[in-house]
């Protein structure tokens, strides 16, 4: 019987670990011992709390104290004041940015209020390296229930009824996919977990694997039972060392408990999981490329059909699902399809995890019910735009998605609504942009990414993305023409229509969506050689205002290229051909006589 009266949860996610949260754990333990309290307080390392921006996070329970930006040396005061005397350490408490009020109980933080944690139910709550804690939270009960009380058909029926759709990007109904794999008869079938997560800025899947690896292990076994497979494979990028380590450990302890291996729970069902490592190419997240890569071949997509459910790994029926998709499965079986389908919108059920990034106050990982609006996500949970700037757009769906703007803020987020607005759900990356972000540059950023990541197998994608990114570069340098804008549109459409795989088919989306919504901004670059957001350095112009310049000569003295001329006490001028736009004069002028346009 444990006598712990308090639990100290220290974030052991990648973000917080990189700012030394391990040392915090060690220090807290040390001071507890000094105060003779090592048996009163349990200290453990959990997965990500989602609040990485303000990490390292230390949470104390049961009083729900949420300490942010904790340093290893703060361990002493936490132990001596809070744990020994019961007094919260004011300066470490999270403060609400608008009111600057300290929040005593994390339930009252705006960041958490509108969230609903289903896939992340155990992240930041249990020790991911301890299977016992997962079991205490009903872990493996869903597998037990499936194996003893349900047939493969009823499992599939339940998943279908829940309305769960794939969280890897496509949004395909999971139950239906399982049914295909189930119906294809074969001597061997496979369950594959797609943990490639190549979308820049996304870390949903990584956090689930780091914070709650058993939920994925359990779900894969359930899927194996449903489709008739006894072998599971997790395809994970080698750049995720911590997730790999936690997953390995989870598989090992599940085997030791007999929850993986032969004759699971005495039911005669066998299932085991192997980890396959990817080199981190975006295209390897595409399921056919992923399968070729696992077989040791080149990570290049092939045409579908045949779908993996017919002919996948080594030509056998294979069910590929995303990490987050799997993480939902055990809860669905335990709480029931009706419970799950009561959350969300008509055609998108349950919740979705998003990685919030960009110009937003609360950068981090969140989970909200489908149907939550972008406004709630960005302004309530995300805390609004950094430095009080103006919101301009949000990119959802990563390099395959599009930009949504002010007019879309009240759209309830779900698969179909985002598609209808010219973007997509994608895997859950959400990058927020403010007034200083230049949209042609944003499109260029994504196109450079897809150009790099294109596997090169088909011409429209290999050559097309290169041409698109060249034209965008031209535009951001002020050398574009109106004809180029037309070419961007037609070329984009051609690539979409002719590329072989999803990478190429969606690569032009960021171009199309920004051209559509920010046409004027493109035209300003082309016709006026002007970047309205002031981001394209090549287009910046420094000018001296005649009426303000008093001729102090300060600017001409700092200009590194001698572009400024003028006599003492008379107006100075900048020679635009010589100017390299370094901004030195702009910073130097004390009379605000120099403007940047």
């Amino acid at each position: 019987m444990s006598k712990y009266k308090m639990h100290v949860l220290v974030c052991g996610g990648t973000g917080c670990l990189s700012s030394n949260s391990s040392q915090i754990v060690d220090n807290i333990k040390k001071y507890l011992k000094e105060n003779g309290m090592e048996n009163d307080v349990q200290v453990l390392k959990t997965g990500c709390f989602g609040f990485c921006e303000k990490g390292p996070i230390v949470k104390i329970l049961p009083d729900n104290t949420f300490y942010v930006q904790v340093k290893p040396e703060d361990a002493e005061i936490i132990v001596k004041e809070h744990l020994v005397k019961g007094r919260k350490v004011e300066r470490l408490l999270y403060k609400e940015p608008l009111t600057n009020k300290s929040i005593e109980d994390s339930k009252h933080m705006d960041f958490y209020k509108k969230q609903m944690r289903v896939a992340l139910r155990n992240c930041g709550f249990i020790d991911p390296d301890n299977i016992d804690e997962y079991i205490a939270r009903d872990g493996y009960q869903a597998l037990g229930k499936a194996l003893t009380e349900m047939t493969p058909e009823t499992v599939i029926e339940e998943v279908k009824k829940s309305g769960l759709r794939g969280r890897g990007g496509g949004g395909f109904p999971t139950g239906l996919k399982w049914e295909f794999a189930h119906k294809n008869k074969a001597d061997q079938k496979y369950v594959v977990c797609n943990a490639d997560e190549g979308d820049p800025g996304a870390f949903m899947d990584r956090s689930i694997l780091e914070g709650d690896p058993h939920s994925v292990v359990e779900a894969m076994a359930i899927c194996g039972y449903a489709i008739g497979a006894n072998k599971g494979l997790v395809y994970i990028r080698a750049e995720y060392p911590l997730a790999i380590q936690r997953l390995r450990n989870a598989i090992k302890s599940a085997r030791e408990y007999g929850l993986l291996g032969k004759d699971i729970l005495g039911t005669g069902f066998d299932f085991d999981i192997e980890i396959k490592y990817g080199a981190g190419a975006f295209v390897c997240g595409e399921e056919t490329a992923l399968i070729h890569s696992m077989e040791g071949g080149r990570g290049e997509p092939t045409t579908k059909p045949p779908f993996p459910a017919e002919s996948g790994f080594w030509g056998k029926p294979t069910n590929v699902n995303n990490v987050e998709t799997f993480a939902n499965i055990p809860v669905i079986l335990l709480k029931g399809a009706d419970w799950f389908s009561s959350i969300g919108t008509e055609k998108s059920k349950g919740t979705k995890v998003f990685a919030l990034a960009g110009k937003i106050n609360n950068v981090g990982l969140i989970e909200v019910p489908m149907g939550t609006t972008l406004r709630e996500v960005i302004f309530d949970i995300g805390g609004g735009i950094k430095n009080g700037k103006k919101f301009k757009a949000v990119q959802t769906g990563g390099p395959s998605g599009g930009c949504l703007t002010e007019k879309d803020l009240d759209t309830p987020i779900d698969f179909d609504n985002l598609l209808a607005k010219g973007s997509m759900m994608g895997s859950g990356g959400m990058i927020v942009m403010d007034e200083d972000d230049c949209m042609p540059s944003v499109a260029k950023f994504y196109l450079e990414f897809t150009e790099d990541e294109s596997c090169g197998k088909c011409t429209p994608c290999r050559v097309g993305t290169k041409r698109l990114s060249e034209i965008l570069t031209k535009i951001t340098e002020g050398k574009g023409t109106m004809e180029d804008l037309q070419t961007l549109k037609t070329l984009s459409q051609t690539i979409k229509d002719t590329a072989l795989c999803g990478l190429g088919q969606t690569a032009p989306n960021p171009v199309l969506s920004t051209i559509e919504t920010f046409w004027d901004e493109y035209v300003a670059h082309v016709k006026e050689h002007r970047c309205p957001a002031g981001q394209c350095t090549a287009l910046l112009q420094y000018k001296i205002l005649e009426e303000k310049c008093i001729g102090c000569t300060a600017c001409s003295r700092v200009c590194p290229v001698g572009a400024i001329s003028g006599k003492v006490k008379s107006t100075h001028v900048i020679d635009q051909d010589k100017c390299i736009k370094c901004g030195a004069c702009y910073d130097k002028c004390k009379f605000s006589a120099i403007v940047r346009q």
Partner: protein
Amino acid sequence: MAKIKSLEELKQLREQFKSKVDLREKGDKMEKMIQIRVAMATCGIAAGARDVMNALVDEVSAQKLDNVVISQTGCMGYCYAEPTVEVTIPGKEPVVFGEVDKEKVKEIIEKYVKNGELLDGIIPVTHKTVDE
């Protein structure tokens, strides 16, 4: 580690492990919990607060009172009456008991915590504790 051979065994294991996380689960619904705080400053500890704390924890877990959270606090200012224990039932004012020992612990749990009946040894509350 022994293998788990049936769903039954897995369920037993879950019950056995529940105590590992129930304190954390209570944190999620703190406002519905009966909170018991033991003053564990120097004066309290010298007077035997640690034994009182352990007796409370034992009693609460033996009786499986899963709506009770026990924690410690600093000096509550009643050094003359240590060990002191403060009990807060949701929706009611906190009540402080003085000179608590193992017998008293049983009585507090039996009468006040379980049934809301008042008993002897209550100290009039003169101030709020620091973190309120």
